[in-house]
Symmetry: C2
Subunit: 192 residues, 2 copies
Amino acid sequence: MTERLEAQLAFLREADRLKTVLRASRLIDDSRHENSAEHSWHIMLYALVLADQAGPDINIDRVLKMLLLHDLVEIDAGDSPIHGNVDHAAMAIKEAAAADRLFGLLPQDQCDAYRALWDEFESAASPDAQFAKAIDRFQPPIANLATGGGTWRGYAVTLEQMDQRVGQPVSRGAPGLWQWLRPQLQKFFARI
Amino acid sequence: MTERLEAQLAFLREADRLKTVLRASRLIDDSRHENSAEHSWHIMLYALVLADQAGPDINIDRVLKMLLLHDLVEIDAGDSPIHGNVDHAAMAIKEAAAADRLFGLLPQDQCDAYRALWDEFESAASPDAQFAKAIDRFQPPIANLATGGGTWRGYAVTLEQMDQRVGQPVSRGAPGLWQWLRPQLQKFFARI
Ligand SMILES: [Ca+2]
Protein backbone atom coordinates (compact mmCIF):
# COMPACT_ATOMS: atom_id res chain seq x y z
CA MET A 1 0.00 0.00 0.00
CA THR A 2 2.82 2.42 0.81
CA GLU A 3 4.50 1.78 -2.53
CA ARG A 4 1.19 2.48 -4.29
CA LEU A 5 0.72 5.71 -2.34
CA GLU A 6 4.29 6.85 -3.05
CA ALA A 7 3.68 6.39 -6.78
CA GLN A 8 0.39 8.30 -6.56
CA LEU A 9 2.07 11.15 -4.69
CA ALA A 10 4.92 11.32 -7.20
CA PHE A 11 2.29 11.82 -9.92
CA LEU A 12 0.38 14.41 -7.87
CA ARG A 13 3.54 16.39 -7.11
CA GLU A 14 4.55 16.34 -10.78
CA ALA A 15 1.05 17.54 -11.72
CA ASP A 16 1.78 20.77 -9.79
CA ARG A 17 3.75 21.90 -12.84
CA LEU A 18 0.57 22.32 -14.92
CA LYS A 19 0.09 25.55 -12.94
CA THR A 20 3.14 26.98 -14.74
CA VAL A 21 2.00 26.16 -18.29
CA LEU A 22 0.70 29.40 -19.77
CA ARG A 23 -1.99 29.57 -22.43
CA ALA A 24 -2.47 32.23 -25.09
CA SER A 25 -5.68 33.36 -23.39
CA ARG A 26 -5.81 35.92 -20.59
CA LEU A 27 -7.96 36.22 -17.47
CA ILE A 28 -11.16 38.21 -17.93
CA ASP A 29 -9.68 41.01 -15.76
CA ASP A 30 -6.79 41.10 -18.25
CA SER A 31 -4.23 40.91 -15.41
CA ARG A 32 -2.21 38.03 -16.86
CA HIS A 33 -2.22 34.90 -19.03
CA GLU A 34 -4.33 31.94 -17.94
CA ASN A 35 -2.53 28.75 -16.94
CA SER A 36 -3.63 25.27 -17.90
CA ALA A 37 -4.43 24.10 -14.35
CA GLU A 38 -6.87 26.91 -13.59
CA HIS A 39 -8.24 26.58 -17.14
CA SER A 40 -8.95 22.90 -16.41
CA TRP A 41 -10.82 23.89 -13.25
CA HIS A 42 -12.82 26.49 -15.12
CA ILE A 43 -13.93 24.22 -17.95
CA MET A 44 -15.00 21.57 -15.44
CA LEU A 45 -17.25 24.24 -13.94
CA TYR A 46 -18.49 25.08 -17.45
CA ALA A 47 -19.24 21.40 -18.09
CA LEU A 48 -21.12 20.97 -14.83
CA VAL A 49 -23.19 24.14 -15.23
CA LEU A 50 -23.88 23.59 -18.94
CA ALA A 51 -24.55 19.84 -18.68
CA ASP A 52 -28.11 20.46 -19.87
CA GLN A 53 -26.59 21.39 -23.25
CA ALA A 54 -25.23 17.85 -23.67
CA GLY A 55 -27.05 15.05 -25.42
CA PRO A 56 -28.95 12.45 -23.40
CA ASP A 57 -26.14 9.88 -23.76
CA ILE A 58 -23.69 11.98 -21.79
CA ASN A 59 -22.27 10.85 -18.47
CA ILE A 60 -21.23 14.15 -16.91
CA ASP A 61 -19.10 12.40 -14.27
CA ARG A 62 -16.93 10.88 -17.01
CA VAL A 63 -16.79 14.24 -18.79
CA LEU A 64 -15.51 15.92 -15.61
CA LYS A 65 -12.78 13.30 -15.20
CA MET A 66 -11.73 13.72 -18.82
CA LEU A 67 -11.44 17.48 -18.38
CA LEU A 68 -9.60 17.05 -15.08
CA LEU A 69 -6.92 15.01 -16.88
CA HIS A 70 -7.01 16.37 -20.42
CA ASP A 71 -4.29 19.03 -20.22
CA LEU A 72 -1.73 17.19 -18.07
CA VAL A 73 0.32 16.32 -21.16
CA GLU A 74 1.05 20.04 -21.54
CA ILE A 75 3.53 19.72 -18.64
CA ASP A 76 5.90 18.17 -21.19
CA ALA A 77 4.39 19.24 -24.52
CA GLY A 78 3.28 22.80 -23.74
CA ASP A 79 -0.01 24.39 -24.81
CA SER A 80 -0.78 24.64 -28.52
CA PRO A 81 -2.80 27.81 -29.07
CA ILE A 82 -5.88 27.05 -31.15
CA HIS A 83 -5.13 30.03 -33.41
CA GLY A 84 -1.38 29.49 -33.46
CA ASN A 85 0.65 27.92 -36.23
CA VAL A 86 0.93 24.40 -34.83
CA ASP A 87 2.30 21.25 -36.49
CA HIS A 88 -0.51 18.98 -35.32
CA ALA A 89 1.21 15.69 -36.23
CA ALA A 90 4.39 16.61 -34.37
CA MET A 91 2.34 17.84 -31.42
CA ALA A 92 0.36 14.57 -31.26
CA ILE A 93 3.63 12.61 -31.00
CA LYS A 94 4.92 14.91 -28.26
CA GLU A 95 1.67 14.65 -26.32
CA ALA A 96 1.55 10.85 -26.56
CA ALA A 97 5.09 10.68 -25.16
CA ALA A 98 4.01 13.04 -22.38
CA ALA A 99 1.03 10.83 -21.58
CA ASP A 100 3.35 7.79 -21.43
CA ARG A 101 5.66 9.51 -18.98
CA LEU A 102 3.11 11.24 -16.77
CA PHE A 103 0.44 8.55 -16.44
CA GLY A 104 3.36 6.10 -16.19
CA LEU A 105 4.19 7.56 -12.78
CA LEU A 106 0.97 6.04 -11.45
CA PRO A 107 0.20 2.45 -10.40
CA GLN A 108 -0.55 0.40 -13.52
CA ASP A 109 -4.34 0.20 -13.05
CA GLN A 110 -4.66 3.95 -12.77
CA CYS A 111 -2.18 4.55 -15.58
CA ASP A 112 -4.29 2.37 -17.88
CA ALA A 113 -7.62 3.90 -16.86
CA TYR A 114 -6.51 7.53 -17.17
CA ARG A 115 -4.66 6.91 -20.41
CA ALA A 116 -7.79 5.35 -21.91
CA LEU A 117 -9.83 8.37 -20.83
CA TRP A 118 -7.25 10.75 -22.30
CA ASP A 119 -7.13 8.80 -25.59
CA GLU A 120 -10.92 8.90 -25.75
CA PHE A 121 -10.86 12.68 -25.26
CA GLU A 122 -8.07 13.25 -27.78
CA SER A 123 -9.78 11.26 -30.50
CA ALA A 124 -13.24 12.66 -29.68
CA ALA A 125 -14.25 9.01 -29.82
CA SER A 126 -17.51 9.16 -27.85
CA PRO A 127 -20.39 11.49 -26.99
CA ASP A 128 -18.72 12.18 -23.63
CA ALA A 129 -15.48 13.20 -25.35
CA GLN A 130 -17.34 15.29 -27.91
CA PHE A 131 -19.12 17.23 -25.18
CA ALA A 132 -15.83 17.65 -23.27
CA LYS A 133 -14.15 19.00 -26.43
CA ALA A 134 -17.06 21.33 -27.11
CA ILE A 135 -16.74 22.81 -23.62
CA ASP A 136 -12.94 23.14 -23.97
CA ARG A 137 -13.50 25.21 -27.13
CA PHE A 138 -16.46 27.20 -25.81
CA GLN A 139 -14.79 28.81 -22.78
CA PRO A 140 -12.08 30.90 -24.53
CA PRO A 141 -14.55 32.76 -26.81
CA ILE A 142 -16.60 33.67 -23.73
CA ALA A 143 -13.49 35.26 -22.20
CA ASN A 144 -12.59 36.96 -25.49
CA LEU A 145 -16.10 38.37 -25.92
CA ALA A 146 -15.93 39.67 -22.33
CA THR A 147 -12.63 41.46 -22.96
CA GLY A 148 -13.21 43.08 -26.36
CA GLY A 149 -11.51 40.42 -28.42
CA GLY A 150 -8.65 39.09 -26.29
CA THR A 151 -6.47 36.60 -28.17
CA TRP A 152 -8.44 37.09 -31.42
CA ARG A 153 -6.72 40.42 -31.93
CA GLY A 154 -3.16 39.18 -31.45
CA TYR A 155 -3.71 36.26 -33.79
CA ALA A 156 -5.77 38.27 -36.34
CA VAL A 157 -8.50 35.64 -36.25
CA THR A 158 -11.38 35.71 -38.75
CA LEU A 159 -14.99 34.57 -38.45
CA GLU A 160 -14.26 31.83 -40.99
CA GLN A 161 -11.50 30.46 -38.78
CA MET A 162 -13.84 30.56 -35.79
CA ASP A 163 -16.47 28.59 -37.72
CA GLN A 164 -13.90 25.90 -38.38
CA ARG A 165 -11.86 25.76 -35.18
CA VAL A 166 -14.63 26.50 -32.71
CA GLY A 167 -17.86 25.98 -34.64
CA GLN A 168 -17.10 22.42 -35.68
CA PRO A 169 -16.28 20.94 -32.26
CA VAL A 170 -18.82 23.05 -30.36
CA SER A 171 -21.73 22.33 -32.70
CA ARG A 172 -20.84 18.66 -32.68
CA GLY A 173 -20.78 18.25 -28.89
CA ALA A 174 -23.09 21.03 -27.70
CA PRO A 175 -25.15 22.39 -30.61
CA GLY A 176 -27.19 24.74 -28.42
CA LEU A 177 -24.04 26.54 -27.33
CA TRP A 178 -22.93 27.13 -30.91
CA GLN A 179 -26.40 28.38 -31.81
CA TRP A 180 -26.02 30.95 -29.03
CA LEU A 181 -22.36 31.78 -29.76
CA ARG A 182 -22.43 32.15 -33.55
CA PRO A 183 -24.48 35.41 -33.63
CA GLN A 184 -22.27 36.90 -30.90
CA LEU A 185 -19.20 36.13 -32.99
CA GLN A 186 -20.82 37.49 -36.12
CA LYS A 187 -21.59 40.75 -34.35
CA PHE A 188 -18.05 40.98 -32.96
CA PHE A 189 -16.22 40.17 -36.18
CA ALA A 190 -18.42 42.54 -38.20
CA ARG A 191 -17.08 45.39 -36.05
CA ILE A 192 -13.36 44.74 -36.45
CA MET B 1 -33.56 28.70 -22.72
CA THR B 2 -31.57 31.80 -23.68
CA GLU B 3 -32.37 33.47 -20.35
CA ARG B 4 -31.19 30.34 -18.55
CA LEU B 5 -27.97 30.27 -20.57
CA GLU B 6 -27.31 33.97 -19.97
CA ALA B 7 -27.61 33.40 -16.21
CA GLN B 8 -25.26 30.41 -16.41
CA LEU B 9 -22.72 32.41 -18.39
CA ALA B 10 -22.88 35.33 -15.95
CA PHE B 11 -21.96 32.87 -13.20
CA LEU B 12 -19.18 31.27 -15.25
CA ARG B 13 -17.67 34.65 -16.14
CA GLU B 14 -17.77 35.73 -12.50
CA ALA B 15 -16.08 32.46 -11.51
CA ASP B 16 -13.04 33.57 -13.53
CA ARG B 17 -12.12 35.77 -10.56
CA LEU B 18 -11.22 32.73 -8.42
CA LYS B 19 -8.00 32.64 -10.48
CA THR B 20 -6.97 35.90 -8.79
CA VAL B 21 -7.53 34.76 -5.19
CA LEU B 22 -4.11 33.95 -3.76
CA ARG B 23 -3.51 31.37 -1.05
CA ALA B 24 -0.74 31.35 1.55
CA SER B 25 0.77 28.27 -0.12
CA ARG B 26 3.26 28.44 -2.98
CA LEU B 27 3.79 26.27 -6.04
CA ILE B 28 6.21 23.39 -5.56
CA ASP B 29 8.72 25.18 -7.84
CA ASP B 30 8.46 28.13 -5.41
CA SER B 31 7.86 30.55 -8.30
CA ARG B 32 4.75 32.20 -6.84
CA HIS B 33 1.71 31.81 -4.59
CA GLU B 34 -0.95 29.28 -5.56
CA ASN B 35 -4.37 30.60 -6.51
CA SER B 36 -7.65 29.06 -5.43
CA ALA B 37 -8.77 28.00 -8.93
CA GLU B 38 -5.68 25.94 -9.71
CA HIS B 39 -5.74 24.63 -6.12
CA SER B 40 -9.29 23.42 -6.74
CA TRP B 41 -8.14 21.61 -9.87
CA HIS B 42 -5.24 20.03 -8.03
CA ILE B 43 -7.27 18.69 -5.12
CA MET B 44 -9.81 17.22 -7.54
CA LEU B 45 -6.89 15.33 -9.04
CA TYR B 46 -5.80 14.29 -5.54
CA ALA B 47 -9.33 13.06 -4.78
CA LEU B 48 -9.56 11.05 -7.99
CA VAL B 49 -6.13 9.44 -7.62
CA LEU B 50 -6.50 8.79 -3.88
CA ALA B 51 -10.12 7.59 -4.03
CA ASP B 52 -8.98 4.18 -2.76
CA GLN B 53 -8.20 5.90 0.55
CA ALA B 54 -11.87 6.77 1.03
CA GLY B 55 -14.35 4.64 2.90
CA PRO B 56 -16.73 2.33 1.00
CA ASP B 57 -19.65 4.78 1.36
CA ILE B 58 -17.96 7.43 -0.71
CA ASN B 59 -19.35 8.61 -4.01
CA ILE B 60 -16.26 10.04 -5.70
CA ASP B 61 -18.34 11.84 -8.33
CA ARG B 62 -20.09 13.85 -5.60
CA VAL B 63 -16.74 14.50 -3.93
CA LEU B 64 -15.32 15.90 -7.18
CA LYS B 65 -18.29 18.24 -7.59
CA MET B 66 -17.94 19.44 -4.00
CA LEU B 67 -14.27 20.22 -4.57
CA LEU B 68 -15.02 21.92 -7.88
CA LEU B 69 -17.38 24.33 -6.08
CA HIS B 70 -15.94 24.53 -2.57
CA ASP B 71 -13.69 27.59 -2.93
CA LEU B 72 -15.91 29.81 -5.09
CA VAL B 73 -16.99 31.81 -2.03
CA GLU B 74 -13.41 33.07 -1.76
CA ILE B 75 -14.13 35.38 -4.70
CA ASP B 76 -15.93 37.59 -2.17
CA ALA B 77 -14.59 36.33 1.16
CA GLY B 78 -10.92 35.72 0.32
CA ASP B 79 -8.87 32.73 1.44
CA SER B 80 -8.40 32.09 5.18
CA PRO B 81 -4.97 30.51 5.68
CA ILE B 82 -5.26 27.42 7.86
CA HIS B 83 -2.35 28.62 10.01
CA GLY B 84 -3.42 32.27 9.96
CA ASN B 85 -5.20 34.14 12.75
CA VAL B 86 -8.74 33.91 11.42
CA ASP B 87 -12.01 34.88 13.12
CA HIS B 88 -13.92 31.76 12.09
CA ALA B 89 -17.39 33.01 13.04
CA ALA B 90 -16.97 36.24 11.07
CA MET B 91 -15.53 34.29 8.14
CA ALA B 92 -18.49 31.88 8.12
CA ILE B 93 -20.89 34.82 7.84
CA LYS B 94 -18.86 36.36 5.00
CA GLU B 95 -18.71 33.04 3.15
CA ALA B 96 -22.44 32.42 3.50
CA ALA B 97 -23.14 35.85 2.02
CA ALA B 98 -20.72 35.04 -0.81
CA ALA B 99 -22.51 31.76 -1.47
CA ASP B 100 -25.83 33.64 -1.59
CA ARG B 101 -24.51 36.11 -4.13
CA LEU B 102 -22.49 33.75 -6.34
CA PHE B 103 -24.80 30.75 -6.54
CA GLY B 104 -27.63 33.29 -6.80
CA LEU B 105 -26.37 34.23 -10.25
CA LEU B 106 -27.48 30.78 -11.47
CA PRO B 107 -30.93 29.51 -12.41
CA GLN B 108 -32.81 28.57 -9.22
CA ASP B 109 -32.49 24.78 -9.60
CA GLN B 110 -28.71 24.97 -9.97
CA CYS B 111 -28.41 27.58 -7.23
CA ASP B 112 -30.22 25.26 -4.82
CA ALA B 113 -28.28 22.13 -5.81
CA TYR B 114 -24.83 23.73 -5.61
CA ARG B 115 -25.63 25.57 -2.39
CA ALA B 116 -26.71 22.29 -0.80
CA LEU B 117 -23.45 20.66 -1.90
CA TRP B 118 -21.42 23.57 -0.55
CA ASP B 119 -23.29 23.51 2.78
CA GLU B 120 -22.67 19.77 3.03
CA PHE B 121 -18.95 20.35 2.45
CA GLU B 122 -18.71 23.25 4.88
CA SER B 123 -20.40 21.36 7.70
CA ALA B 124 -18.55 18.08 6.91
CA ALA B 125 -22.01 16.60 7.18
CA SER B 126 -21.47 13.34 5.26
CA PRO B 127 -18.77 10.79 4.43
CA ASP B 128 -18.40 12.45 0.99
CA ALA B 129 -17.79 15.84 2.62
CA GLN B 130 -15.40 14.35 5.17
CA PHE B 131 -13.30 12.79 2.43
CA ALA B 132 -13.38 16.05 0.44
CA LYS B 133 -12.21 17.99 3.52
CA ALA B 134 -9.47 15.44 4.21
CA ILE B 135 -8.13 15.86 0.67
CA ASP B 136 -8.32 19.67 0.91
CA ARG B 137 -6.14 19.50 4.04
CA PHE B 138 -3.77 16.82 2.74
CA GLN B 139 -2.48 18.61 -0.37
CA PRO B 140 -0.74 21.63 1.26
CA PRO B 141 1.50 19.50 3.54
CA ILE B 142 2.60 17.51 0.47
CA ALA B 143 3.72 20.77 -1.16
CA ASN B 144 5.34 21.99 2.06
CA LEU B 145 7.25 18.73 2.52
CA ALA B 146 8.43 18.97 -1.10
CA THR B 147 9.75 22.51 -0.59
CA GLY B 148 11.51 22.25 2.77
CA GLY B 149 8.68 23.63 4.88
CA GLY B 150 6.91 26.20 2.71
CA THR B 151 4.21 28.07 4.61
CA TRP B 152 5.03 26.28 7.87
CA ARG B 153 8.11 28.44 8.28
CA GLY B 154 6.39 31.79 7.75
CA TYR B 155 3.62 30.91 10.19
CA ALA B 156 5.95 29.19 12.73
CA VAL B 157 3.71 26.13 12.77
CA THR B 158 4.23 23.35 15.33
CA LEU B 159 3.59 19.61 15.15
CA GLU B 160 0.85 20.01 17.75
CA GLN B 161 -0.93 22.53 15.50
CA MET B 162 -0.59 20.13 12.57
CA ASP B 163 -2.13 17.32 14.61
CA GLN B 164 -5.12 19.51 15.29
CA ARG B 165 -5.60 21.44 12.03
CA VAL B 166 -4.56 18.71 9.60
CA GLY B 167 -4.59 15.50 11.62
CA GLN B 168 -8.20 15.80 12.74
CA PRO B 169 -9.85 16.31 9.34
CA VAL B 170 -7.46 14.02 7.43
CA SER B 171 -7.71 11.11 9.86
CA ARG B 172 -11.48 11.50 9.93
CA GLY B 173 -11.99 11.38 6.16
CA ALA B 174 -8.93 9.44 4.95
CA PRO B 175 -7.24 7.67 7.87
CA GLY B 176 -4.67 5.92 5.66
CA LEU B 177 -3.35 9.26 4.44
CA TRP B 178 -2.86 10.53 7.97
CA GLN B 179 -1.11 7.30 8.93
CA TRP B 180 1.34 7.96 6.07
CA LEU B 181 1.67 11.70 6.68
CA ARG B 182 2.13 11.77 10.47
CA PRO B 183 5.65 10.20 10.52
CA GLN B 184 6.76 12.51 7.70
CA LEU B 185 5.62 15.51 9.72
CA GLN B 186 7.25 14.18 12.86
CA LYS B 187 10.55 13.82 11.02
CA PHE B 188 10.25 17.32 9.53
CA PHE B 189 9.27 19.11 12.73
CA ALA B 190 11.98 17.31 14.73
CA ARG B 191 14.56 18.97 12.45
CA ILE B 192 13.42 22.58 12.80
CA1 LIG C 1 -5.77 22.55 -24.16
